[in-house]
Symmetry: C2
Subunit: 678 residues, 2 copies
Amino acid sequence: MKQIFAVFVAFLALCLDVPSLAAPLASVSSPDSRLNLSFDIDHDGRVRYSVIRDGKPLIAPSKMGFLLQDSFAMVRGFGFVGQESASGEENWEQPWGERRFIRGKYNELLVRFQQKEDFQRQMNVRVRVFNDGLGFRYEIPDQPHLKVMKIAEELTEFDIAQPGTAWWITGGEWNRYEQIYQKTRIDAVATAHTPITMKLDDGTHLSFHEAALVDYAAMWFKRADGQTFRSMLSPSSREAKVIRETPFSTPWRTIRVSDDAAGLVESDLELNLNAPNKIGDVSWFKPHKYIGIWWGMITGKWSWASGPNHGATTERAKQYIDFAAKHGFKSVLIEGWNKGWDGNWFGRGYYSFTESYPDFDLKEVTDYARRKGVQIIGHHETGGNIAVYEAQLEDAMKLYAKVGIQAVKTGYVADAGGIIAPGDAEGAMRMEWHDGQRMSVHHLNVVETAAKYKIAINAHEPIKDTGLRRTYPNWIGREGARGMEYNAWGQYANSPDHEPTLIYTRMLSGPMDFTPGVLSLTGSSGVRLASTLAKQLGLYVTLYSPIQMAADYPEELAKYPRELGFIRQVPADWSESHLIAGEVGDYAVFARKDRNSNDWYVGGVNDADPRTISAKLDFLDAGRSYTAKIYRDGLNADYRTDQRHSMAYETRTVKKGDMLNIWMAPAGGFAVRIAAER
Amino acid sequence: MKQIFAVFVAFLALCLDVPSLAAPLASVSSPDSRLNLSFDIDHDGRVRYSVIRDGKPLIAPSKMGFLLQDSFAMVRGFGFVGQESASGEENWEQPWGERRFIRGKYNELLVRFQQKEDFQRQMNVRVRVFNDGLGFRYEIPDQPHLKVMKIAEELTEFDIAQPGTAWWITGGEWNRYEQIYQKTRIDAVATAHTPITMKLDDGTHLSFHEAALVDYAAMWFKRADGQTFRSMLSPSSREAKVIRETPFSTPWRTIRVSDDAAGLVESDLELNLNAPNKIGDVSWFKPHKYIGIWWGMITGKWSWASGPNHGATTERAKQYIDFAAKHGFKSVLIEGWNKGWDGNWFGRGYYSFTESYPDFDLKEVTDYARRKGVQIIGHHETGGNIAVYEAQLEDAMKLYAKVGIQAVKTGYVADAGGIIAPGDAEGAMRMEWHDGQRMSVHHLNVVETAAKYKIAINAHEPIKDTGLRRTYPNWIGREGARGMEYNAWGQYANSPDHEPTLIYTRMLSGPMDFTPGVLSLTGSSGVRLASTLAKQLGLYVTLYSPIQMAADYPEELAKYPRELGFIRQVPADWSESHLIAGEVGDYAVFARKDRNSNDWYVGGVNDADPRTISAKLDFLDAGRSYTAKIYRDGLNADYRTDQRHSMAYETRTVKKGDMLNIWMAPAGGFAVRIAAER
């Protein structure tokens, strides 16, 4: 009878997805007790986690587990083996970043599960709960029947318990992360990359992401039904999406939780879940601003390829170096210096990373730069061909180190699924995804190689940022969203609310080499940016990067001496950063303290709805006097009219507690330098 | 300059997804000219198709192509090589089905494309446009650089040009097709199985599916953004989702288009795109009704496994045979007759397909049945283990043929991704998906083997139906949706609108062994069905299957002699079928003509909103007199109350043109036998 009943219950269970009434087996809360994660096992032996905040369900019971390529799934039939609790505190100093000192108290729980039948596989889950969010990861122990884990799919669910709005970009799109964000109700999302940000109807802000994506495929979100999401791993050319020897840990699946947008934006959750710096001293890297031989090719005036309009010539490089030296830019990016751009490079990438074009003398240019106190940012575009790049990587970095280049912009321009990795036989290819397991390995390979040579990496068309800059602080930035360049190719190609959305989504993951500073507000063929001039300055304070470009042609930059002066002064390194006003997708106002002085900067970017913000300067030091230099939208400024360059300038004495009221135009913004009196 | 410009345009193109202004290269219309499909190639060499109906865009320019696992994608850089046009007409007789004669005029277009660079791959597309819809498929020729095509993903888009509503189930769910349908706006779909049905705001009805899924992975829909959908192939344990030697053709991607629901439901588009019968005479298979030792296990009273409550005993089998003989049921399904049910069979499947349990004598039972003029339906549950099943398949069919069994219900009870296929080494496993390439091959292997032995196949937990019953008319049905059994396990587990939605979605693909006829309206532990008694009869006329079960316990069936009498008479084979009233998700009323007489049957099923339908009996033969016997919901019938069994019975003389007005209760229905006067 018992056997019959067991079979019946098993059969029943397989068919119905009934909410369990099982009591939690193990549970862990944040230090302030507001956030709680608990585990249970349903009637079918499926491990589930749930999250509650302030007593309200945040994540309803959500299943966990894996499909394997070569064996029974790790989904059903689990039993609880044991648990361990701990507490800890992260307390560390970033060598560069939005904040100097980072802290985070947490409570930790490790739970051990084991399947009762068949191969009795073990699956552990470790959780860390902070006051600003939580992360959990799977830890798969070494075990007799799982020496190599071939993951066909990870089946982690996220069943959002309350209705709300989501901001997201489609997972697996041909153009990778370079999409305009969609804003929909949560139950209208399809598949999405992370970070995916949500605002529940009760005001709670959430963002889902991952931390420490090492030797594993990136996680996308796939909505199953209602508000239940499930992980979907980036594909692989191999027979499984992830292949790992045990023991290993997956990346942390992270959930930032906050009462408001500021709490979401100012969290360091993923950084706190990453391993400490393992490459040592990086004082050789100094955050700075740069210009580049780049916009000319983006707007079609010059070419990367050789020919009469070749952008990267020795002569032009010297002109840029002169301009950089004169206007306080620390370095010059030069693209198109190397052989391989002639013919079809996109998704093909038959580059040389050591041979220059004949009209570009690398030694002469870098020597000239050195004499002027300027550096060159190197460029390694791969066209997606990591087989070619990896074969030359060591020599490429060696060459750059030899000529004094200390930062490289890498690129992987190819469609999603179009990365060319070496195959198993001579001449064979494996097609990979920009964010699959193979590329997670490739990027760290590049970063670690660069570190040996004291070179920093700024990766374009990259894998998403999951906080590895803590472990590898020479990984100084990446693209991984639609940046300024899209504005060159189509009128208002980046909508007015693009940056005000990026700040609450993409920018939660880490710095972006957005390349602001197109002060002409014009792309190719007269195409207009969805931006006023003041918004361009606001970007320096709102879209963080340790390397900030002034992207426009130097002669255009020179037409706006006051703005150029602001850009010269604005830091790229901060000791504090605060979102002092803003709403997801609408606008954002930051206050940041210069890491190297007592100065503060305030800046804002706005969507298409004009608005006045009132910011209280309560972050200033008490008793200190400051001079505020304000750069803001002038009367009637509007990105759609001939008043888009209209500016108003003010200088004021300010002190702690003063109010700053600033009107922002449609697609407008502002920037303020609050200089401390010496 | 030209080279620079070309590179610039290529770079521009890779970044922006601009609508093309390219003129159509090739175009084909339906015979009535309302529907038109055209091809163009965008500025980036990407092949696109568009569909227009009555001059309005139906499918906006939608991209085509493939990602390969081991080489450059077949996406960009295509040129137009040539085209061929043709016309044709399908005109054939089904051995069994909803209609006896099937016709379809079409216009056909074959277009040849070739990539200009690299390996210059060739990709052809064939289109057939009928008045009720269209289908297109890729044809990949034998070519020097593509001997074996390893498809990482198919990238066929479906950009729905007008807003509307969609009815769908989630693609890739753990419980496969066995889900309640979701009804959302088109732009809120996430991932979906096919058929996926849409009703545009202007009233146009569409359903997307595929035809002739042979040696290829099933296609799911994945919404990218807005209303753009993209194909997503079911996964594989191998390094690519599909591996095929060239030349080969993909399945047809089909789009039924109609002004109304009836046109959608009555289309034979997918059948017309399948290859003709290749197994020859199937007159040994006669559509019929059956009962079974099955509901007892579903409701938990008996077991499949051995033991004191074993369902499939020789004695019980004889009782069922007696009941079948007495009440006009042609066969008896017997589950749990064979060894392998003891222990964990779900997703494991260590069955013997030739050894019976000791208390079941296969020979004695089949001999008894034969003497009574009744057949036995065999049962091959695999628990998802096709490694075990395929090894015994020949012997299993041989045994059944020997004892006179002419139909088998197969089963694949396992989670999605949990099919166990043989690996490459001894004892190795490959985990496959129910609708992946490996299973598309397995199912035809089973059907073809069965055909040798004159055995028909009714597959549960199957791959979707794509019309292959035309080519293999012994493939008589399948499950592939949530059937009656779910009602056994939870109150109203199948919602009142479940069948009224199935009819316009799942049922467009082919017959379903839904197993109606739970006349007690009760499952295990007194759980209620979302159905009145009249609705159970309506199912026999609205949810088509060539084998129709009366699923309840015989003693329960016997309590409703009038209803049992209707079931005895209702045919399972039709010469005509018409949806004479209905709305997707709400209700459906069919009129069907018995294939073997001049009788007609009318039946309806309803959701939770009571309604009166008015049906004009204009399908009756002029000049012929009929007696209509009506079985309908009685006064106050309601699935939620103690009036759920309330029936009203009427007998009436009717003729062509008469009106039939029938009120349907909440979750109600009706059935009418319109017997022609002899």
